[in-house]
Symmetry: C2
Subunit: 241 residues, 2 copies
């Protein structure tokens, strides 16, 4: 079983100027791959905070992802933070500069060169059509904040991350959550390894609670789902997926 | 200056089954109020993790908010986590039970009573039309995960949180970010207290970068904005807000 954590870096998220969509994207994609995302942390553009949090995550999870802070401006401090986390120097990566030169119409200026300053010894993963690679330091994968690029880049290296995927069943229930809570608790005592979620909805007209049942073992999931269905009042079930 | 942190509690967010919108909502609202949101952390439904993170946040920030985990089911562990964080017992709050009884058509069952089990000595804030109050322990404000309720409840007690609001100006620029990076860096050397954001956009046809300038001092912000505008090529500016 593989675990992961995501570090979202950027004042623009914390101050509400830009909405983070990378967290939601990554949570869905990692789930499909069977990797357990266990922590999402959003922090400001401060080198020491980036360094401390990246180091802590690197020690606790199999895969760490960062989002944001790798552009050419003053507030792009992720590379410096990751270098500090692993006590590495920042060096100019000439192959990244050469790649920029091939893709750019204008001459390479200092601001563009800043984007090729990466922690010494970092792995540089080519990602096909994009001119900027994914930089990896230890188990930390450094991604841009721009959603279109974040998604393209993750997609291009997704094969590096995999586990045994969860199987998911959904039951849409018309009852109040408090009226089925006891049934759910009893089910969990019998199926202690089941991941059972119960999510009340306010604005849906056809159901009041979405139940999710998950397991990596399809047979176990089927037994748990059948057991639960048999215990819910027949007309309480709106839909099963 | 007041600071804040948000603790989002729920496997459903980490596994991509439910999209967190409370973070974005709170970031925008706190910004309006002049409170600096400095950290957003999403964690699983595990009592010890909730307790440790809530305690750490409570010590480091003026206001702490939690989202999720206060319903009637097995995976609703926020109250237990907050109680553990502050070494408090969990007790039945009779006024909450009475309030439920007034609002509920059905008799109060055990699952509903579970929602009235809160840390001993907690402050219970009435929030007008809603039958469930906001529970506050020390500086930790406990909110539901359901976005409609999160928003209504925050709105009903927003007067408790306030600071000096930031003033914001936006400049939409047609140049590449790397071509204006040097101008931005120079500006920041002269206006070191300015909060300057630079956000490249890929799919906008009218501009390539959104610049945000912020300060709590309107006069300082006006000077910084005018200085920057005077240094950008005239036809580089698409729009100023």
């Amino acid at each position: 079983m593989s675990t992961a954590a995501l570090l979202v870096i950027g004042n623009e998220i914390l101050s509400g100027k830009v909405r983070d969509t990378n967290s939601a994207y990554l949570s869905v994609e990692l789930r499909k791959l069977g990797v357990d995302l266990e922590r999402i942390l959003t922090i400001p553009d401060v080198i020491e905070i980036i360094a401390n949090e990246a180091r802590a995550m690197s020690e606790s999870y199999d895969f760490v992802f960062t989002s944001g802070g790798i552009g050419p401006t003053h507030d792009d401090l992720t590379m410096d933070g990751i270098a500090m986390a692993f006590d590495l120097d920042i060096v100019l990566n000439q192959s990244m500069v050469d790649r920029m030169a091939r893709h750019s119409k204008a001459p390479i200026n200092d601001a563009m060169k800043k984007m090729a300053l990466i922690p010494e010894g970092a792995e540089v993963l080519d990602v096909g059509g994009l001119w900027f690679p994914v930089v990896v330091v230890s188990n930390v994968h450094i991604f841009p904040g721009i959603p279109e690029l974040f998604e393209k880049k993750f997609d291009s290296i997704r094969d590096r991350f995999s586990g045994v995927p969860f199987q998911l069943r959904k039951i849409y229930v018309r009852e109040n959550e408090s009226d089925i809570a006891e049934t759910l608790n009893t089910l969990l005592k019998e199926f202690s390894e089941l991941m059972l979620g119960s999510y009340p909805r306010i604005n849906e007209k056809d159901y009041r609670v979405l139940l999710t049942l998950e397991s990596r073992d399809p047979e176990y999931l089927a037994r748990a789902t059948d057991t639960l269905i048999s215990r819910l009042p027949r007309d309480a079930i709106h839909k099963i997926e």
